[in-house]
């Protein structure tokens, strides 16, 4: 008996060991199925680090994109200002108006002065186009900008400082139908300024018009830029003083006009 008793003892202990191992293994596998990923703090730490670097990278990217957006907005603003200032050539749909003096031979009693295109008629036409929503206008290839004015010098019309000769071709970019309607409306520009004097007038709707840039210089000798924030205060402060001066100047101008 004592020969084999150790076998029983050790065998029983071994069996217990085997059972314990199986139970513990079972527990461990169950735990691992519930918590499959991050079992240790160091793994979590690594993950946190990685996410932190990711976050930093993304934040930097965001910053860069914001800056780009700002630059883009500035570019957009610059673009629209350049378009408004007329320093860039433009292309777009619109109308092309051809204006000519009277074509038929005049009779002896007719005053030829009435049957030619005058600078004020061009001015009215352009004004009508602006009012109808034209985005850009050129007269005989001369781009109209904010300072452009029409004037009369003897027998020719000046637009700004450039001389014009008939036929006057006015190109306007904008909604063609609206522009055309603005001119041809009953009692409008054509009825009041073209028909009575039998001037040649042709209006064509174009899909693509090319307008050259403004070629003159823009020099500002008197005006200076006022920062936007201070605009109101200076305006309110200087108002009373300038009023009298203006009145005086107006009076002088009026007088000069009468003298001439």
């Amino acid at each position: 008996m004592s020969e084999h008793s150790w076998k029983i003892g050790v065998g029983l202990a071994s069996m217990l060991l085997g059972m314990l191992l199986v139970f513990q293994f079972r527990t461990e596998t169950n735990v691992k199925t519930y918590l499959p990923q991050f079992t240790t703090a160091s793994e979590l730490g690594i993950k946190w680090n990685r996410m932190q670097t990711d976050l930093n990278k993304k934040e930097q990217e965001l910053k860069q994109l914001r800056q780009q957006l700002q630059e883009y907005n500035r570019d957009e603003e610059l673009k629209s200002l350049r378009m408004a200032a007329g320093v860039t050539p433009l292309r777009g749909p619109g109308v092309e108006i051809t204006l000519t003096d009277v074509q038929r031979p005049l009779k002896n009693y007719e005053d030829p002065n009435l049957f030619i295109v005058h600078y004020d008629q061009l001015g009215m036409l352009v004004n009508e186009l602006w009012a109808a929503g034209a985005e850009a206008i050129a007269v005989n290839g001369v781009r109209l900008v904010a300072q452009t004015g029409f004037s009369c010098a003897g027998t020719t019309i000046l637009v700004g400082t450039r001389k014009l000769a008939p036929p006057y071709i006015i190109r306007a970019i904008g909604d063609a139908a609206t522009l055309k309607a603005a001119l041809t409306i009953p009692g409008g520009f054509i009825d009041s300024q073209i028909r009575p004097f039998e001037l040649g007038f042709k209006i064509e709707i174009k899909d693509s018009l090319y307008l050259p840039p403004y070629k003159g210089s823009s020099v500002f000798n008197y005006a200076e830029i006022v920062p936007e924030e201070t605009e109101e205060t200076t305006g309110a402060g200087g108002e009373e003083e300038t009023e009298t001066v203006e009145a005086l100047e107006n009076w002088e101008v009026a007088n000069e006009g009468e003298v001439r």
Binding site: W6, L16, L21
Partner: protein, 118 residues
């Protein structure tokens, strides 16, 4: 000699697979101690047998006494928040390695004896 523990482990594993139990996670440290205690008992029993001093009742009593002391230490340590059971783990491990070296010496000595006889 080595067949008995291996056979026992295999049989125990088979029984364990048939039984549906598992040990709750909270008793993890107790399980470690229990496993170490059984391993210690196996090696201790083998060593005693080799030395010719194996007594079944002594084997059983010492196994349970060791296991109870270890579990008591673990429980005590758990209730005061200190891992005292580590002490029992270390003690069991030392004993296991001790017994293993003794068993190795015995077996090697026996082999040498046989060779000399031949």
């Amino acid at each position: 000699m080595l067949v008995i523990p291996l056979l026992g482990i295999a049989l125990g594993a088979g029984v364990g697979l048939l039984l549906p139990w598992e040990i709750p996670l909270a008793y993890k440290s107790y399980t470690a101690l229990a496993i170490l205690a059984t391993v210690d008992a196996i090696f201790g029993g083998m060593r005693a047998q080799l030395e010719g001093i194996f007594i079944f009742s002594k084997f059983i009593i010492s196994f349970f006494a060791n296991a109870l002391l270890a579990v008591g230490l673990a429980y005590f340590g758990y209730s005061i928040g200190i891992d005292i059971y580590m002490g029992a783990v270390v003690a069991f491990s030392i004993r296991i390695f001790n017994n293993l070296s003794l068993i190795r010496e015995f077996l090697l000595g026996r082999c040498r004896q046989r060779r000399d006889e031949q």
